[in-house]
Symmetry: C2
Subunit: 326 residues, 2 copies
Amino acid sequence: VIAAVRFEGGRLEVLDQTRLPHEEVWLTLGSAAEAAEAIRRLAVRGAPLIGVVAGCALAVEVALDPGRLEAAALELRGARPTAVNLAWAVDRVAAAARAGGAAAARAEAEAINAEQEAANLAIGSYGADLLAGARRVLTHCNTGALACGGEGGTALAVIAALAARGPLEVLACETRPLLQGARLTVWELARAGIPCALCVDGAAAGLIARGEVDAVVVGADRIAANGDVVNKVGTYAHALAAHAAGIPFVVAAPESTLDPATPTGADVTIEERAADEVRHVGPTLTTLPDVPVRNPAFDVTPADLVTAIVTEHGARPPRGLTPNGV
Amino acid sequence: VIAAVRFEGGRLEVLDQTRLPHEEVWLTLGSAAEAAEAIRRLAVRGAPLIGVVAGCALAVEVALDPGRLEAAALELRGARPTAVNLAWAVDRVAAAARAGGAAAARAEAEAINAEQEAANLAIGSYGADLLAGARRVLTHCNTGALACGGEGGTALAVIAALAARGPLEVLACETRPLLQGARLTVWELARAGIPCALCVDGAAAGLIARGEVDAVVVGADRIAANGDVVNKVGTYAHALAAHAAGIPFVVAAPESTLDPATPTGADVTIEERAADEVRHVGPTLTTLPDVPVRNPAFDVTPADLVTAIVTEHGARPPRGLTPNGV
């Protein structure tokens, strides 16, 4: 069983994802500030998991000092700008704390985690129904238990459900700059016993064009009201290639990723991260140390390239999305 | 002045491109076997440069032992399967050697190098005419003097000519797995004083979609008779994004890259390289050590995504190409 977060007895622990796949190190997050820092440096990453951990961290903070509620909520909300689940989870726990204090905050954080686990299972099942027959699936970044809390995931939950129903091969894109595919998805798939091959991000489009992929399945960090999908940088090129090849491009995400307040992908602030993420791979400097860098963390896949969005309520086309299945 | 090959007095020296940008180390290639090894391990890379170096190496071998001509030609031709210039240059020098011995072989190799230099200048000028007004250009891999011999290049010759005519900013894709963009293009552009920013390959499509790029210019390893372009893996996704955004996608290559004997891109053997290129960046293992890998070195961009092909004879649409400008 893979899990990336533990929240038992009010104690919050997370797996440090920057150390994987070589080491499994657990961190105790004793405050909102420590959680915000872990989120910023990507020790905790993946839109659904960020929400779960931020919610739990707010409950931890409120148990320490109820007077810190509003400041801690603000700090956690600002840890990363793009993921909508983060604000959603923090707001839920903050509202519970205002109404019922530390005990209510902790119960709400535990409820979010439990809901997330149930959502992951449903997403996997609906996605596998949609892609029945797909035997070679490409994915990007990491969308498994490490990204989502619980034991499930979003796109990786679909993949796990497909693998449980028949033979499956996964093509995992390494996902530069931070290599979540190479480090995390490969590690999760190996643990789950699902056959997998790794490729560089630039190889995906050509392999799709050569007929080596039956479907592309990815997660999402935010889905705008018009169905545009904001996801890890590199996703849009895979969507273009899938469209050109006539294979499904499916987005798996919890309902909390839908953002009806944002009309289109163009309205989303795309986080630009540090230049050294691109200049280095691990400790290795790969270029001139002072070269300017463009490092957007996400890109926007237009709704018309998306075959379906799969949430815990089922699969539906991206146009005219409404949140919470209504 | 950047040059990646010296061939003076029958002595063949090349810049070891695996050591850039941190060290400038020159290698003396004393035989066809040494040259083939340097080409295989990418100390010498870039389709035009491979041709120049292989031609010179065959002349070196024939000067040592004329009886080795056919075996050496075979070994050099087989050093990499995809680039058509390699076979073309080796065949030219072999024919000269058969007709006139070692002196004729050396003269032919020197002629190929000189022709390449002249072609690079012409490619740069024609490409800059075509893209007059483009101020933000994206490129992939390395197509400069390091790739082409002489002081010019193909796509980078176009970029240098544009920069000589007005302000220009280059977006250089790092080009996983071997990072020729991060290591070599950034280094060449810095030396030339041309402003440049580096991005991961997966960021290109999103930046193009956001209107941050006026044109894409790349080189080619082989161009099929129908205009399909075989180039460094990752190129096809950039072409899809350029097409979706309505910006030019231009391929700059010498006439020797045109391969009328190959009907379409689907008929080209795509070299699959070693798994450890993907599993590692430099000395750093980025994933599980035994994960299976797909590592195609090239991909195919269909002719209908190519705005123009620019050679030393000018710019023309990709359909119905005939070699040598006739």
